[in-house]
Amino acid sequence: MKKPIFILAFIFFAAFMFMAAIDMRPFGEPARSEMDDYFIENAQVQASSNNVVTSIVFDYRGFDTLGEGTVLFTAVIGIVALFREVAK
């Protein structure tokens, strides 16, 4: 009973996404790149690191990485707590 509605919704979803992909701006030309140009120019001076991606992850956006480590830690705590009953 629900299946025709699901199929219709899926076809509409896929078709609209496909049209959006065709109409996207051309591949290989980012619209705005001022921030990234700043990072590429200044990462070696300010963070003293050759790898620009690492200097963004650990220096410019350090709080992001802190939250990421917390998410990983919480997932491990959740898995250990889930299997505590099984091990008994």
Binding site: N51, F58, F63, T65
Partner: protein, 159 residues
């Protein structure tokens, strides 16, 4: 997960395991010079744990790798990462104050294209090591816990 695999697989695992672990720590330590970093290197070391687990079975491996020790390493990595952020608290949290100051990881880097010097980039290298420890321990705990639980569930089903 039942028992251990054939002799060919065991011999290849014994040869390859050390290389995988060394390569993982290489990726962690060179995170500020080459593609990679703490997360990727930790995942490589954890994949070595998964290889051991597949080859030898859960019961043998649990005698050699202590899950509690891995948990302690994981917490230590996260705490170290947070406290390295406090090094630059005089400016802001996560300010890279060790860079260009001389000393450990502090020598200034050459501007522009260069062959790379391991002793640069200040707190970034220290944070790479801390995050690498955390990720390898976290993924190791996940793999060990899930395989042990799978073993228990399988045994219960059989009996």
């Amino acid at each position: 997960m039942i028992g251990e695999m054939s002799r060919i697989v065991r011999t290849m695992t014994n040869i390859i395991f050390g290389f995988i672990v060394v390569f993982g720590f290489y990726v962690i330590a060179h995170g500020h010079l080459s593609p990679g970093g703490g997360f990727q290197g930790g995942a490589i070391v954890a994949s070595a744990f998964a290889l051991l687990l597949v080859t030898y079975g859960t019961e043998v491996i649990q005698q050699y790798i202590a899950k509690d020790l891995l948990s302690v390493i994981e917490s230590t990595g996260l705490i170290l990462f947070g406290s390295f952020g406090f090094l630059g608290i005089s400016a802001t949290y996560f300010y890279n104050i060790v860079a260009n100051s001389g000393g450990l990881f502090g020598s200034p880097t050459v501007i522009g294209v260069n062959p790379g010097d391991l002793n640069t980039s200040g707190t970034i290298a220290l944070m790479n090591i801390a995050v690498g420890l955390e990720v390898l321990a976290a993924l190791g705990v996940i793999v060990l816990t899930m395989s042990a639980a799978a073993e228990i569930i399988q045994n219960k089903e059989k009996s």
